[in-house]
Amino acid sequence: MRNESSGVLIDFRQGSPETFESAFESLFHQHQRAVYSWILRIVRNSAAAEELTIESFWRIHQAHARFDPARGFEGWARRIATHAALDWLRAQRTQSELSMEVCAALAAPVEADPAITAEIRSKTALAFGRLPPKLRIAATLAVIEELPQKEVAAALGISVAAVKLRVFRALRLLRKDLERQGITP
């Protein structure tokens, strides 16, 4: 995703209205799939991910004057997308957060452990949905998606130590919630 020409990035940052719009369209088509799949990893709902991709690029369009071409587009776009996804998670009600995709995934997880019943998986997913969004997003990216903590930190705009702390707190809260339901991982 770093193969965009510097001319496009400069036009996006400070081009004339015509060259700016052209550069924005070029960047959109080049990055929409990456932004969409990043958001999908966080919200786990394809319809929401599509809407949030549009929302992210709208924010990118609005904030183009703050873009630094020297630092590249991908990381900047990813951070904006992460914050859009975080806003969405905050706006959701706890019980309604599980999408149809997640429910389908619950029915047929990849390499399902036979010792873990569907009920336990369901309760775990619901308990995870009850975590504060800031903790949930860090745990989703670092634990479920197994992304490098440095990458998670860059996307969230926090330090690696803060990512570790959020993941630790997320797992501790999740464990407590599961224990209240009689589940001991």
């Binding site: 088509h29 990893r41 394809s46 991709t53 929302e55 690029f57 998606e145 197994e146």
Partner: protein
């Protein structure tokens, strides 16, 4: 929670919520929708809500300093 417990919990979490395919693509072309969104909500004016908020905050601080000059060192201390 020791490292073993943490690993078990992580494994359970990944069973409950499997990772999403990292290279998924949207089910439709999002460009037309983005254009509609941009038409509906064009660029925010330069004098936005934040600027108003910043101005109000500054006015409040100036007023505080004018009416309570003794508060200035206290304010500077907490900066």
């Amino acid at each position: 929670m020791n490292a073993h417990d943490e690993d078990d919990l992580k494994r359970l979490l990944r069973q409950a919520l499997p990772p999403v395919e990292g290279n998924a693509r949207p089910g439709r072309d999002l460009w037309p929708d983005l254009l509609r969104r941009l038409d509906a909500e064009p660029a925010a004016p330069a004098f936005s809500g934040w600027a108003i908020f910043d101005g109000a905050l500054l006015a409040g601080l100036v007023g505080l300093a004018a009416f309570f000059p003794a508060a200035i060192p206290v304010f500077l201390y907490y900066l």
